[in-house]
């Protein structure tokens, strides 16, 4: 009548296994709502086409699309992480499973790492499909440059940091869904999906740099155009991208931990 024996493995391996369990659950849940994922994908594609036609005055301007398509992909990752992340947490609070997940020997932050990994897979898979469709359908040409790898990874991390923060806020703010939709629209507009943020007026460009994924897309477009990373470092966009990403991720994790502690204090882990 005793609990099964404690496994003998390193702390890190143990934590990794529990994070992987969260990821696997997240992916299984995503598979069960795959219809919604496909609908979201199609909606994103048509929204992007509509915006591109609007900006192009009724025409699809391929050089412009080459610059804005990476932003669409970033928006897809960020939007998926934020909407599915907050939706998942809200569903778990209302369903009572968030409480059950707390009966675990691992920490909330490790569990969140697992969750965000699943959201990353979902968002990246959707982004890859969208990217492939647009590149193939419109013959958009990109020159894959090794220098683009770092900003691409940072942009993904930035997008996930945003999703993490929104998911973390969901523990505290029940009506976060409406706010998330507004924020996603802001990212769509100021993140470079309509036009590259470099064409904005200087003040507007500065504000846009605060928006998740915007800096990443700017640096990514610079490197995809064949310029080295040193240029992005010199003009300050790469350092700010690193700071922005680090801040979003840290704020997301800290907010989640603080909100879970607060929910335990106030009995907020169960249905509201």
């Amino acid at each position: 009548m005793t609990a099964l024996a404690t496994p003998t493995e390193s702390w890190l391996a143990f934590q990794a296994r529990l994070a992987a369990n969260e990821t696997a659950k997240g992916l299984r849940l995503m598979w069960h709502r795959r219809g919604m994922v496909v609908v979201g994908l199609v909606m994103n594609a048509f929204t992007y086409l509509g915006i591109s036609l609007f900006i192009g005055g009724g025409h699809l301007v391929e050089p412009l699309m080459t610059l804005t398509l990476p932003a669409l992909l970033a928006v897809t990752v960020a939007g998926t992480a934020a909407l599915q992340g907050s939706g998942g947490i809200a569903e778990e609070i209302n369903g009572g499973t968030l409480e059950q997940t707390q009966l675990s020997p691992t920490s909330p932050q490790v569990q969140m790492l697992g969750r965000i990994t699943a959201l990353a897979v979902e968002g990246l898979a959707a982004a890859l499909v969208l990217g492939a469709v647009f590149v193939l359908a419109f013959g958009l040409a990109y020159d894959p440059h090794p220098a683009a790898v770092l900003p691409a990874l940072l942009t993904i991390a930035d997008a996930l940091g945003y999703g993490l923060l929104i998911a973390a806020l969901t523990v505290r703010i029940a009506s976060i869904g409406a706010i998330t939709h507004v924020l996603n629209m802001v990212i769509m507009f100021f993140g470079g999906m309509m036009v590259p943020i470099t064409v904005f007026p200087a003040a507007m460009e500065t504000v846009a740099h605060l928006v998740p994924t915007a800096l990443g897309i700017q640096v990514l477009n610079t490197t995809l155009a064949g310029q080295p990373l040193s240029g992005a470092w010199t003009d300050g966009t790469l350092p700010w991208l690193i700071v922005h990403t680090g801040l979003l991720l840290t704020t997301g994790v800290v907010t989640y931990v603080v909100n879970i502690r607060r929910a335990r204090r106030e009995g907020g882990l169960s249905p509201r």
């Binding site: 005793t2 609990a3 143990f14 369990n21 369903g95 499973t97 009966l103 691992t106 169960s270």
Partner: protein, 324 residues
């Protein structure tokens, strides 16, 4: 080394809210539950039962005091403490409805740090015993409420924890499903020696399952005794006399406070106390009026009666009446 007590609450209390309107959900409570005991926490809605259960599981942070599970402090040694428990919580699904029963059990087993290979035989055993094996790959959302609750119980048991927290496990279940769940709790307690903390509004079930009852009112435990002792101490033994036909001339012979239940072809009289003089007088009148006596019974003490007495007795408020 196994600790003496499965659960130890030391001055455990909870105040919700801050500032001008704090609400004391649980007054400082000290309680020790030995291994293998089933303790029923009973109380009206809002008494603090669920808060106590959640503080035991570390899901609500106490304002005062501490909880130890198998000797592990829930706040300081959470990693070890949570391995000791499985929980079915009130008013929630407890498991993921889009996932299958099998996927849920695998997830909750790994959540506690187990490996798939360790969990699979246990999952198979639980699903078979709970008659869920044929539908193990179907989404839990497609199950009846009773089956969903069985999955929740199986998920709580997947790592074979020695302590179970069951908060209203039969809530919302039909009679048959509630019976199945009750039988399972009985099996877990008697056959597997689990320590169970049970809250329920089904007092008959609580009486049947619990070896010990703690009654909570306004966040305070007002009685905490082995079930038998509680019944002996608080239940009034009463006599019931059943005669054929209507009450007739016996009406004037009844002591004050007697309850009369008139049926189609008989009348049942419940005397207000266990005073044998009242019974003898009534039986003498039955003979005098030549009424046909059908039965004389001593009513069995009933937890519901005790519970209502304790809860409605204003004098118990603010003081611990009986403690183990």
């Amino acid at each position: 080394m196994k600790h003496d007590s499965a659960i130890e609450l030391s001055g455990l209390g909870k105040v919700y809210g801050r500032g001008k309107s704090p609400f004391t959900a649980v007054e400082p409570t000290t309680l020790s539950v030995p291994w293998g005991q089933v303790i029923g926490l009973l109380g009206p809605n809002g008494a603090g039962k669920t808060t106590i259960i959640k503080m035991i599981g570390g899901l609500v942070t106490p304002t005062w005091g501490s909880v130890r599970l198998g000797g592990h402090d829930v706040a300081r040694q959470r990693r070890h403490a949570v391995r000791q428990i499985g929980a079915v919580l009130e008013g929630s699904r407890n498991v993921y409805w889009p996932l299958s029963a099998w996927e849920n059990l695998m997830y909750f087993g790994r959540l506690k740090g187990r490996r798939s290979a360790e969990i699979k035989p246990r999952a198979q055993q639980l699903l078979t015993e709970l008659s869920l094996w044929p539908r193990r790959h179907q989404p839990v959302g497609s199950f009846s409420r009773g089956m969903q609750q069985k999955v929740a119980i199986a998920a709580a048991l997947i790592t074979d924890p020695p302590i179970l927290l069951l908060d209203e496990p039969t809530l919302g279940l039909d009679v048959e499903a509630a019976r199945t769940v009750k039988d399972w709790i009985d099996h877990l307690a008697r056959q597997e020696g689990k320590t169970v903390v049970l809250t329920t509004h089904q007092l008959e079930a609580a009486q049947e399952l619990s070896g010990r009852i703690a009654v909570i009112k306004d966040g305070q435990i007002i009685a905490d005794l082995p079930t038998g002792q509680l019944l002996d101490r608080y239940a009034e033994t009463r006599y019931t006399v059943t005669v054929a036909g209507p009450l007739g001339g016996l009406d004037g012979a009844l002591p004050a406070g007697a309850q009369v239940d008139t049926r189609l072809d008989s009348t049942r009289i419940t005397l207000p106390s266990d005073n044998p003089d009242d019974l003898h007088k009534l039986l003498a009148h039955v003979q005098w009026h030549e009424a046909r006596l059908l039965s004389v019974n001593q009513a069995r003490p009933n937890l519901e009666e005790v519970f209502i007495r304790l809860i409605n007795d204003d004098q118990t408020a603010g003081q611990v009446k009986e403690r183990m």
